[in-house]
């Protein structure tokens, strides 16, 4: 069960990109209170989980994700809600196949930095010859705060 690597690399593919919403990324995720009154019968596995009755949750009125982006090979479309200068710091981490870091991936995304004049979608060019796999990086805003970035390249024909 092998795969023709050349054919895979040459195949037309698609991109799935994900940029984390910068305007949300620095808010507190959830708080913990001690408002619980009655213990559940069993301790949660591992003993390190917070007591469920002491957990509080912040729930968005909108219960569906903003969609991540899909696009043709060569362009990843980033969905970003905050205007400003974004540093596209594309870490040379290449996850598939395992054990093969792709140091050249850092040059594959342009432009960087980029100026986002209004919230919306940003197109970033990606080296079209990259083989399929998951590329991991960070997006930095003007203050230097970073958010994770995933770019997945598949080779679906």
């Amino acid at each position: 069960m092998t795969r023709d690597a050349d054919a895979v690399a040459a195949a037309w593919g698609r991109l799935v990109g994900l940029a984390v919403d910068a305007c949300q990324s620095h808010h507190a995720a959830h708080a913990v209170t001690d408002s619980g009154k009655k213990a559940f019968g069993k301790k949660e596995r591992g003993g390190t989980d917070p007591d469920p009755q002491q957990m509080s949750f912040t729930v968005s009125p909108h219960q569906r994700c903003r969609p991540t982006s899909t696009g043709q090979r060569g362009v990843v479309v980033l969905n970003y809600e905050q205007a400003g200068q974004l540093q596209f710091d594309y870490s040379p981490v290449y996850l598939l196949p395992a054990g093969e870091p792709r140091t050249n991936a850092a040059q594959t995304a342009t432009p960087s930095p980029m100026q986002l004049t209004a919230p919306g979608y940003v197109e970033v060019s990606i080296e079209p010859q990259l083989p399929r796999g998951l590329y991991v990086g960070e997006l930095h805003d003007a203050t230097g705060k970073g958010d994770p970035l995933l770019i997945y390249i598949d080779d679906l024909i």
Partner: protein
């Protein structure tokens, strides 16, 4: 009937033609009705554990969908399961208040918006065990013993049970093979620490027991942080009666606010245990990203099962991708 099989019966009722275990031969008994499935789940599920609460809540919401779409009348079974969900909370009369729970969640099924009406219904259902308020950012804040259950129920009711799926071709051994590509994303309110634990392949059977039977590390030296290796997974016994055994090359990666596993079919190796060869395309990734107010869980899967090209494979969406996407509620 076991809980996992009962859950598949509920999905089968909701997605006729998509969940088709009989096509794989030697299936478990799927002739059982949704009513019996709900009753079995209500009888067996242990709501003292988070995983039990997740299963009860999932079954309850699926039952509401079945009932609401007039697929089948399951009202008495829903009443019983809802009462069981409410029972652990102090001062809550489960049978009396279950209709409020159903009313609130039916609103979410109709529109994935958490309105004041929804919150009022849940407040009533959970009595003094749920305290809710709207904060300055127009987000709902849930506190109290029922906060977790209420949040979980809302997410399950808001879930779009259909994935984004498309057909395509990939090249295997020089030949083009038809594949199904499915993408599923959830923005969950579950804490990041709970969500990210399930991303490591070693934890898949624990966090997604409806699908994963076992995961064995065949090569590689898993460490607490990033690691790479070959695993042998045994999956899908629920649907096939016989598990599918596949060797996967996996890479687990953590960085600030993100955990992700990417995987692909492992090359054949004479020094590793062989798989059964049934699945010849299986690649994608599974990630959890902390976006602040919520955690985004993404599941992307491209798959081909040999000899089953004409069999519906969209069952993978509810039974695999969606269960993985709700990872934060499992344990």
């Amino acid at each position: 009937m076991k809980i996992d099989a009962a859950m598949a019966v509920l999905y089968q009722a909701l997605l006729p033609g998509e969940v088709d275990p009989a096509a794989f031969g030697n299936p478990p008994d799927f002739a059982t009705s949704p009513q019996a499935a709900l009753a079995d789940i209500a009888a067996q599920v242990d709501v003292d554990t988070r995983q039990g609460r997740y299963l009860a809540n999932l079954a309850y919401v699926l039952g509401l969908r079945i009932d609401g779409e007039n697929i089948d009348a399951v009202t008495p079974e829903l009443n019983a399961l809802g009462a069981k969900i409410l029972a652990p909370f102090p001062g809550v009369d489960g049978p009396a208040l279950e209709p409020n729970l159903a009313t609130g969640l039916r609103r979410v099924l109709g529109s994935p918006m958490i309105t004041q009406d929804v919150v009022d219904d849940l407040d009533t259902a959970f009595g003094g065990s749920l305290e809710s308020s709207l904060n300055a950012s127009d987000q709902w804040e849930f506190h109290g013993p029922a906060a977790e259950t209420a949040t979980m129920l809302i997410e399950l009711a808001a879930l779009d049970i259909h994935c984004q799926c498309e057909d395509g071709l990939v090249t295997v051994d020089g030949a083009q093979v038809p594949v199904l590509k499915c993408v599923f994303e959830v923005c969950t309110n579950a804490p990041y620490d709970l969500c990210m634990r399930g991303v490591d392949p070693r934890n898949w059977p624990t966090y997604s027991p409806l699908f994963f039977q076992s995961v064995e590390v065949l090569s590689g030296s898993p460490s607490p942080g990033n690691w790479e290796g070959v695993i042998q997974e045994s999956v899908g016994a629920l649907l096939t009666g016989t598990p599918l055994i596949t060797n996967l090359l996996v890479s687990y990666h953590e960085q600030a606010k993100m955990a992700v596993t990417a995987y692909d079919i492992a090359p054949d190796s004479s020094i590793l245990k062989a798989d059964d060869g049934t699945i010849d395309v299986d690649y994608g990734y599974f990630s959890v990203t902390d976006e602040g107010l919520h955690r985004r869980v993404s599941v992307v899967k491209i798959v081909h099962i040999r000899g089953k090209e004409d069999v519906p494979t969209n069952w993978m969406c509810p039974l695999v991708l969606q269960q993985q996407a709700m990872i934060g509620w499992w344990l």
